[in-house]
Subunit: 338 residues, 2 copies
């Protein structure tokens, strides 16, 4: 803490499209001291992640945008230099939202301890931290990947994708990594052991995906969205699970993002579930359904509204009226006995 | 069976937009006799449903389109007049895919018996048949509606919607019925007991939905799609479940349907699941994730790829390179100790 000052990087401008150096400013600032319950941490490693880009958009709603002049967001790992929190003492290695700065003062409750005997401390930002944990939960808890399935991983060379594709591979799936360059393709195929790689920028993306997933896609772990999302959705198999956890393709869009981005992003943020339904999947419930519906009808717990027209020749107009009319209840055509 | 002939309605033209009378033709045809294992059924009631409209589109893929000249699809209930199947005898009441015709010859295996003591036989097409069963399974098995939730039902005056909204109401939810007219609004509110109704044609649809669902929408049973789907998606609550089981808004679209229709329709047909994911929901799994990731790293079951640049001042360019570069593995900025 030489001179009681430190260097920080502030957000100076909301990036227009891709972030540029001029959107940020390196400043020297006085070090603050930890208050009661707080800890002073010296940063050793900062994690670079796409998600904070969303908060560099002045129209972001949830989570809200950074203010200009704020220290840029970023998770980090570092060493406790001064503690006023009972759980921490000087020398402890901790991880948390340190920001792009050499020192951070944070409430102890917002930090977690890192065991430096478990591996290099920066692994707490990656494979043993949020990236690895996210990949593990995507594969095992959210998508519940099963042996023999075909699994597509977006941004497969990235921090989450590179772990997810290895975990899926270990389960005994056919893994397809989505990449953006030949270098990434070689890494994902040769080092991570993916069964196939597809470049999302390919002019023949749909055909490439179809060739890589001849039996359809059972699981799609999607952090990218946009055209890639739509292309993979063309190849989904029956009972496919698509887990959306990012939409990197739109993070650098200038102006209003596409409406679809808003919808998928809301699905992510609200952790919503959109499911396709065909009644044939629910045969096991038909008995319960019948029993309860009969009981309810008899007891007056539901009413059954029908509208009936007479004569086979009425069928075309009764059918059209489903769409153009003002139908109420079940629409029926009665055919008098011959 | 007067004169051994019957009347049928054939598909004569693929409807352009809304179905019209001229798309269909009423013809007189010789009655066929049941073969071994088949049953001759005299139709009493035909069910009018939107879904067969999809198969009147020559570009339909799954299920495939009707051929011109085919008897129009339609479920019906009727009386067995002649049986060559051991499970049926003359006089039995049965339901099945009878089509728009006075008599149908079908394999016995494609029929189901209707108990005429349970209510009017046509209920086997509605509340005690596919419509009611679909509504019950949507509410109880697919969406698993819980007391206190806000439930939006599209086409709430229709055969499935009118049952679904009553079942949801009985569970103790706030029910919002989507309607297309004042007459439907009155029916859904006053007869079915919905807490609120919203007209999908309203000029203030977004505001109407927001007012009707002040705490957001927990469950959306959607058979309509299109603009309504998008509007309701703006109001979804955390952990919302959206069950898509139709896309009526596009069934009568002329020319190529919107891309979004193709995607949602595929989700329906494949019974896929699109889920939004935030890692914070999976805290209960973090212990397992850590344990397994550490074991895998130690055993060489996964590799951990990192790329590190040195110096806080490198953070802006390392961040930009996530999007414009060719990143491999976890991207880190190392800050040398002061």
């Amino acid at each position: 803490m030489p001179g009681g000052s430190q260097r920080c990087i502030l957000l100076r401008a909301y990036p227009q499209g891709m972030p540029r150096a001029s959107d940020f400013e390196l400043v020297e600032r006085a070090l603050s001291s930890p208050g009661v319950g707080e800890v002073l941490v010296e940063t050793s490693f900062l994690s670079m992640d796409p998600a904070p880009r969303m908060r560099m958009n002045p129209t972001a709603r949830e989570p809200p945008p950074l203010s200009l002049g704020d220290v840029v967001l970023g998770r980090g790992v570092g060493t406790v230099r001064e503690s006023r929190h009972a759980d921490y003492q000087a020398g402890d290695i901790v991880a948390g939202e340190l920001g792009w700065q050499e020192y951070a003062v944070l409430p102890g409750a917002q930090l977690r301890k890192v065991d430096p005997t478990r591996g290099p401390i920066q692994a707490a930002l990656g494979v043993l931290g949020p990236s690895g944990t996210t990949a593990w939960c995507l594969v095992n808890a959210a998508a519940k990947v099963r042996p023999g399935e075909t699994v597509v991983v977006a941004a497969a060379a990235g921090s989450v994708g590179s772990i997810a594709i290895q975990l899926a591979r270990n389960i005994g799936t056919r893994t397809i990594g989505i990449v953006g360059s030949d270098k990434q393709a070689a890494f994902v195929r040769d080092r991570l052991g993916a069964d196939a790689v597809v470049n999302y920028q390919s002019q023949t993306l749909a055909a490439d995906l179809a060739a890589a997933a001849p039996n359809g896609v059972n699981v799609f772990l999607d952090s990218v969205g946009g055209a890639l999302h739509n292309a993979v959705m063309e190849q989904i198999a029956v009972h496919a699970r698509i887990i959306a956890f990012g939409y990197i393709s739109a993070y650098n869009t200038q102006g209003a993002p596409p409406a679809e981005y808003g919808r998928i992003f809301r699905v992510i943020h609200r952790r919503a579930e959109l499911r396709g339904f065909l009644i044939a999947d629910f045969v096991a419930h038909f008995g319960d359904a019948q029993r309860e519906l009969v009981e309810l009808l008899v007891a007056g717990g539901i009413i059954n509204e029908e509208h009936t027209v007479d004569g086979l020749e009425q069928a075309p107009s009764a059918f059209a009226a489903l769409f153009t009319g003002d139908p109420i209840g079940k629409q029926l055509v009665r055919i008098p006995s011959q």
